[in-house]
């Protein structure tokens, strides 16, 4: 029953996304494959931030340092790739992903060993990672390898399929699906994934059933760190430079997680819902821009939507608690 409601929620979100796309087409009659491509590219860093947040929230935590970790990954990649050859860039990508895992592990380990609540530790780490990013690169700069930039620009071309079909699939969307699937699908089916849901649902019960609570939590944060590193990488890939001041990814990730059906507090939800939700949030922004609303007003509307979503999520949680 609960499963049915959840898949119903995701189906509803997907339907809403389709309706929004239709509305976009009505606002801007020549909205087509290129519009879809730019939407997908703009949503990419947000989607990775959301995936990172979702993993941690499922495991019963919350990570406020995601945007700062993305900044660290972004500047590291940009600095290391400055003047590096294409071959070296591969190592840079691997290194940045490992760095993400390391940052996440540090977050998780600090939470487990200091026994300070997640929200406080990751608030402190938000400042620490922000400082690290500033130490690596004081002002926006660096570079990104050309082939990496090419990975997210344009649409896929699959031999054997006509371009009229493949032209509708942006490369950035494919990259997102592949990256998230490679990590999340095996993880959610493994014992570790089950343990993450278990500690998020009831950490004491999980402990009594023999789940290594501390280790699972650290691994959940490490996974989030890897997703955040991917987010930082695509940020550098899409702008071509590293940006030490983190963007508004934190609030967006929390709002998308709530909107995507992951309960703050843990134990329920998946990654599909939040990612659809974050694309919806980006599409709303794009529609407002197409309606030629002042970009600053767009920020206000977007912020209001996110706050209202979080408030409704809170109200629902209160209802459920009674």
């Amino acid at each position: 029953m609960a499963r049915l409601i959840r898949s119903g929620w995701i189906a509803g979100l997907a339907l809403f996304l389709v309706l929004l796309l239709v509305a976009t087409k009505l606002i801007q009659p020549n909205f087509g494959s290129s519009g879809l491509e730019s939407l997908s590219r703009a949503a990419l860093p947000f989607a990775f931030a959301t995936a990172a947040q979702a993993v941690v929230v499922i495991a019963g935590g919350i990570d406020l340092s995601i945007a700062s970790m993305m900044a660290v990954a972004s500047v590291t990649a940009a600095v290391l790739m400055d003047g590096a050859s294409d071959g070296q860039a591969v190592f840079v990508v691997v290194f940045v992903l490992l760095l993400g895992a390391a940052m996440g592990t540090i977050n998780g380990a600090l939470i487990v060993f200091t026994r300070v609540p997640d929200i406080v530790v990751t608030l402190a780490m938000l400042f620490v990672w922000e400082g690290v990013a500033l130490l690596i690169l004081k002002a926006p700069g660096g570079a990104a390898a050309t082939w990496l930039k090419g990975l997210i620009v344009g649409s896929v071309s699959i031999p054997g399929l006509p371009t009229s079909v493949t032209g509708w699939i942006p490369k950035s969307l494919l990259l997102l699906v592949v990256c998230v699937a490679v990590i999340w699908v095996p993880l959610s089916r493994s014992k570790l994934g089950l343990s993450m849901y278990a500690i998020g649902s009831d950490s004491l019960a999980a402990f009594r059933s023999g789940v290594a609570v501390g280790r699972t939590k650290i691994l959940a944060y490490a996974t989030a760190g890897v997703f955040a590193a991917m987010g930082g990488l695509v940020l550098t890939m899409s702008t071509g430079i590293g940006e030490p001041i983190p963007g508004p990814y934190l609030l967006a990730s929390v709002a998308a997680v709530v909107l995507g059906g992951v309960v703050l507090g843990g134990g329920r939800g998946g990654l599909l819902g939040p990612i659809i939700a974050v694309i919806i949030l980006r599409l709303v922004r794009m529609d407002l821009t197409l309606l030629s609303v002042d970009p600053n007003v767009t920020t206000i509307i977007e912020g209001t939507i996110m706050v209202v979503v979080v408030m409704l999520g809170g109200l629902l949680a209160v209802r459920k608690g009674r």
Partner: protein
């Protein structure tokens, strides 16, 4: 038996520290000042002390927002933006409404943002961190839109605020005129009034206080509105000190204000803390900042250090309260 009658020195020090929690902080402050004097002999003089107090006052006032909200287990991350909004609105309205009108109108958005925070935290039960972060983002957007409507107006800081922010009388900064009554009011409010007691009660055990008839949502509404008001006043004082209203005016106060409250012994989990500790915490951070500037430490390293301080102090106090 005899051992209990003559407690060891360590236990005695522990007891003294428990009765006067501000004492170790003051010792730390004095030690820092002494270290500074050793690093750069002659730096500590009357002028330096007045300057340090002048810069510590806006920080201590913004840290009041954090102290009050932290007592209930919350935090106010919108305080920096709120202070900026107030300062900017005031500076751009002076030429239209005159100083008094501008100051009054500038405090309205501050209280409004606070009320929205209180609504989200008290009624929708959103975590204060997320709620205040969100309202801060919205307020930043509003400020940018507002800035474009007043671009032609220009901005100015009224003489009275500049006098209050930067001036000195008989060697002491004028901002003490605002701060001393303010601090006295907060200290008295927390110790002697029902509202102050309610903050401690909610932070200590929210369920228990609800069951004993506290209308939690009303307290949260009042608390966050008050926090917004304090942040607004801080912004007005701070713009008198900096004299150049910008869209990122009070942003540098945000992180240190959380750190000041945490160093001052206010528990981020709620129920424990005092404003006197926060004031000393703000002084410690101001001296520490002078020190870091002397050491030419980059901005990044400073943020790392502040983050680490918050984490370390919280972890230690969590351990201590577990055993105590």
């Amino acid at each position: 038996m005899e051992q209990t009658q003559t407690p060891s020195i360590a236990v005695r020090i522990g007891r003294i520290a428990q009765t006067y929690p501000v004492l170790p902080l003051i010792i730390l402050l004095v030690a820092l000042v002494a270290a500074l004097e050793v690093m750069r002999p002659g730096i500590v003089n009357e002028r330096w002390i007045a300057n340090t107090i002048k810069f510590a006052i806006p920080l201590a006032m913004m840290a009041a927002c954090q102290t009050l909200t932290m007592l209930t287990g919350g935090i106010d991350l919108s305080a920096g933006v709120v202070a900026t909004v107030s300062a900017f609105v005031m500076a751009t309205q002076v030429s239209i409404l005159g100083p008094t009108g501008a100051i009054l109108i500038a405090l309205l958005p501050a209280i409004l943002i606070g009320l929205v925070n209180g609504f989200g935290v008290g009624i929708c039960r959103v975590h204060p961190l997320i709620m205040t972060l969100g309202t801060g983002l919205i307020a930043t957007g509003c400020l940018q839109v507002y800035q474009r409507t007043v671009i032609a107006t220009g901005s100015s800081v009224p003489d009275a605020l500049a006098w209050l922010g930067t001036g000195r009388t008989a060697g002491l900064p004028n901002s003490l005129l605002l701060f001393l009554p303010f601090a006295a009011l907060i200290l008295w409010g927390l110790r002697r009034t029902g509202f102050g007691r309610l903050l401690y009660a909610l932070g200590d055990n929210e369920n228990a206080s609800r069951l004993s008839g506290v209308r939690a949502w009303q307290v949260y509404m009042a608390l966050y509105a008050l926090s917004g008001l304090i942040a607004g006043i801080t912004g007005l004082l701070y713009v008198g000190l900096i004299k150049a209203p910008s869209l990122s005016l009070a942003a540098p106060l945000m992180l240190p204000s959380v750190a000041a409250a945490v160093i001052g012994g206010t528990s981020i989990f709620g129920g424990r803390g005092s404003y006197s500790g926060t004031i000393v915490g703000a002084l410690i951070l101001t001296v520490l900042t002078t020190m870091l500037t002397l050491l030419q430490m980059p901005e990044g390293a400073r943020r790392i250090l502040f983050g680490a301080i918050i984490l370390a102090v919280t972890a230690v106090s969590a351990r201590l309260s577990e055993h105590g």
